[in-house]
Structure formats: C-alpha cells, structure tokens
Amino acid sequence: MGIDVRHLSYTYNPGTPFETKAVDDVSFEIRDGEFVGIIGHTGSGKSTLIQHLNALIEPTSGSVLVDGEDINFSKNKTSLRRRIGLVFQYPEYQLFEETVLKDVSFGPKNIGKTEDECLSAARQALQLVGLSEDSWEKSPFELSGGQQRRAALAGVLAMQPEVLILDEPAAGLDPSGRKEILNIIRRIHSYGTTVVMVSHSMDDVARLCDRIIVMEKGKKVMDGTPAEVFSCVEELEAMGLKPPSAALLAKRLKQRGIDINDGIYTLADLADELKNRLGGIKKGA
C-alpha cells in the first residue's frame, strides 16, 4: 500500500496574526516496505506533515492518496487509521485504561474486533515490544517511562497496521531505552511493515533508514538514500542539523588527506573502511 503525497500545504490559524505555514507544497511517495526517515530542525513541520498521512489533519491544499484514493474524501477513516498506524511524540500521555492489557486492546476494540481477538492482538503486540507478562495487569501509570512508551507503541501495533508512522519514538528516553525502542522498530520493519520515522537523531536515522526526507521551514529540501543525503554535510550543517558523527569524522579525515570512500555515514562502515586503509598503510610502511 503506497502513500502518495501531492503538493501538500498546511497553514495554522489562517487569517489571524498567528498564521503559520507549517507545511509548504510537499510532495513525495512512500512505497511498500520502505523505512523512511524524516529529519529537520525543530519547527520545520515534521509532526504536522505526518498527521496528514492518516487524515488526522485536513490539508489546506494538496492531497494525500492511498491506493489512488484521496483519503480526505474517504468515508471510512477508522479503517484507514487501522492500516496506517500513527504513534505520536510522547505517546505515553495517551494511556488511560485500568490495565496495560485493556489499554492496548482499545485500538482493536475500536475497529470492531471481538473480545477474544482484541486480547490476543494485545498480547501479541505486548510481546512484540517486549513488555513482560507480569506488567500486563498493572495500571499503565505504575510503569516506568520506558515501559509506558512501549505500552503505548503496543497500543498502535495491536491494530496490525500496514504502515507504521512514528514521531520521535526515542525522544526523552535514556540510551538503553532508546536502543530498545529502535530495535523494536527495526524488528517490526523486518516483518514487512512499512515504517516512517521522524527523528532528531541523525545517527539513528543513518543506522535504520533506507531513505531520508529532509524538511526545512515546511518545505522538503532533500529526499534520497542516506548516502546521498549525508554526503551533503555542509548543507545539513547550514540548516542547523548535525550530520551523523561518522559522516563528520569521515569528512574531517578526508580533509586531512586520508583517502576514504564517499557515502560512508555509519560508524560500522567507517570502522571497516579505516581498517582497510590504515591496514594497507601499515603494511606498506
């Protein structure tokens, strides 16, 4: 199921002194099975943009097509939102039920599943995010921050979406919580779900995504593979974005005259490359 975004624009508070053009003529397409990262400076319109993808916000102009149909004219928005799951930033603030299990089955219940189906979908989702069984009957408010985040993620996964959209899924977590959440997302993608992830961390995006969209001031300014995007170190820095540390290091080394291949942006690749090069130098010396 592809998502086709065409000339999308959105303005907050039109016609008042507080008018803000948050998304400005953005077009792109998301194809099945992709892992797309959306990066951009704070306020560049990332969150606004992704809320259009499952019809939570109606565009000021332009359209979003899913399976060739404009989703703002679709009658059954609930079924659309089941297929395109959206996890908001700090999703733990949406927890409300008495127990974690009940909260996670809220989504499946809304799309008309039977009680048994709901519970089995919820259990499956909770296992997927690695919440241990003894926390399922606890109140979601008793969990730690990282656990709450995973429970909220499970709440969307329980609807078994075909496309999963995440807004800063790792924001505000400690390094180990970050790593766990990102591993879960990577696993979900490997099961065949299309993933769109908004992130501030270039390193995370570099490691996970196979395509990156860069936003600035509401506009899409770059769209390509990580190698393409992260080779433009200067442009990214001009936008106030910090390229992945490996890309920066590679650039510095090149400036010092060490011959390194272009398109290296992950630490693992850089380490391999250096091993090859430096190994070679040593032998020659």
């Binding site: 508070n13 002194p17 809320q51 499952n54 939570l56 916000i57 609930t78 939102r81 089941r82 799951g85 959206l86 996890v87 908001f88 999703p91 603030y93 949406q94 927890l95 409300f96 809220f106 989504g107 809304n110 799309i111 408010f141 709440g155 969307v156 609807m159």
Partner: protein
C-alpha cells in the same frame, strides 16, 4: 472546534493604545461605557462611532476583528431590537395587529437600543483586543489592591487568573493532541448516541486530567522552589506606571464626554 475559542482575542501590537497602562485602559473603558449610556441621541452615537473608529485606526486593528466579536451578541441585539420595535408606546402608530404595534417612536427606540448594545460591546472589544490578558490581570490586581485591606484577595485572584490564562492554551493544545492520538487508535468522538459519545470521552478525559494534575504539581513545586509565598512583599518585574500618554488618553475621553453632553443639551437628534 477548539480553534475557535479565541482567548481574550488579544491582537499584539506596539501602538499608542497598546502601550497605555492597563489601569488607564480599564478605567477609561468604564468611562466610555458611561458615555454610551448618557448619550441621548444619534448625534452622540455618531461621536462615539467616530471615537471607536479613531481608536481602531490608531491601534491598527482591522475593523473586521471588531465586528467578529459582535457575532456572539447578535441574537441579543435582534431580540432587543424587536422588543423595542413592537412594545414601545408611541402616538403616531404606523401598523397595528392585536397588542403589537409599530410607531415612529418605536422604530427610533429600537434602533437606538440596538446601537447602544453594539457600541457597548465594540468599546470593550477595544480593551481586550489591545491589552494582553496578563497585562489586564496586572491592571485589575493593581486596581483592586486597596480593597485587600478589607479582606478582598486581590493578589490571589489575580495569580489564579494569570495561571489559568497561561494554561488554557496549553490544555487546549493538549486536548487536541490526545484527541488525535486516540483517533489514530480508531476512537470515534463524533458519532453514536449521547451515552456512547459521553463514554467515548473517557479516553480523552483521563489523560487530560492526569496531565493537568501533573502540571499543577510541577508548577507548585517550581513556584515554591523560587520562594513564592503569596503577594506580601512581592515586587513586580514590570511595575505599572502612569505616564504622559495616559494623560493624553484621559483628555481624549473627557473631550468625548464633554461633546456628548453638549449634543444632549443642544437637543439635535435626541430621541
């Protein structure tokens, strides 16, 4: 839906009127309301309209923002108009049906009363459009401070009002976010019976209350950590001070009141 709640509808700016002391503006607005009430004829109203127009021009506020504020009272204006139209007893009756009658005097009365209401509201609009809610509370606190001697909690009320004003937009935004988050999980807030809809609010209200209490807690702690202990001996970062421009504004309103008294006395256009 929530976007339509314009709070205090403040229209930021740097004009002469924006920079007036909020106390001046509150007191002069009251004086303005008195002017509207003492005016006995259409000539006086003409002066008041001219005054409002001038203020709007000086404050660089488009007239459409002033008219927008009239929408909520449109019904009241129409009812007032109709009541006066049919109910005022006049000699020269133009039309009669049962107890209902329209006279020339009735028409004049109806227009006059409707206009009076409109002018009262547009005048107060000028105050709220040009004064930020926080400045407004500051002004009210300062005006009510003398009454704290007789136990009126001026500071506490003002503090509560500022906190509420500060957090209402935050809560509105939060409501919007949670609504969307639950919608993304298939929640439906718009259809179904009344009971079903009330039940559907639960996934919205629980997180909203949880976060409101959390915020209240954090705010209280942050205030205590900075030694807040009520209004006693507390100084202001921007103390209110009357200036020369407040005097000019006062003169303008006195002039308006004087002119209205003159038109009343002259009897031109008086009904």
């Amino acid at each position: 839906m929530l976007n339509n709640i314009t709070l205090g509808q403040f229209f930021p700016g740097e004009s002469f009127i924006h920079r007036l002391d909020p106390r001046t503006k509150i007191l002069l607005t009251i004086a303005f309301l008195v002017c509207v009430f003492i005016s006995r004829g259409f000539l006086g109203f003409g002066l008041i309209v001219a005054f409002i127009y001038m203020c709007a021009k000086v404050a660089r506020i488009q007239l459409k923002f002033i008219f927008r504020g009239l929408k909520p009272i449109a019904v009241i204006v129409i009812i007032t108009f109709l009541l006066n139209l049919f109910m005022s007893a006049g000699k020269d009756v133009l039309w009669k049906w049962g107890i209902l009658s329209i006279s020339v005097q009735g028409i004049k009365n109806a227009v006059f009363m409707a206009l009076r209401l409109i002018l009262l509201v547009t005048g107060t609009q000028l105050l709220t459009l040009t004064t930020s809610p926080i400045r407004l509370t500051d002004g009210l606190e300062s005006l009510f401070l003398p009454f704290s001697k007789i136990g009126f909690p001026a500071h506490e009320l003002a503090m509560m009002m500022s906190i509420a004003l500060r957090f209402i937009p935050t809560l509105i935004e939060e409501t919007q976010k949670i609504t969307r988050a639950q919608k993304a999980r298939g929640a439906d807030f718009e259809s179904g019976s009344l009971i079903k809809r009330a039940k559907a609010l639960l996934p919205l209200l629980v997180p909203l209350f949880v976060s409101a209490f959390r915020r209240a807690d954090e705010l209280a702690m942050a205030m205590e950590a900075r030694c807040y202990r009520g209004g006693k001996g507390r100084t202001k970062m921007r103390p209110l001070r009357y200036g020369r421009k407040d005097l000019y504004a006062l003169c303008c309103v006195i002039l308006l009141a004087g002119l209205i008294l003159v038109t009343n006395a002259s009897g031109i256009g008086v009904i």
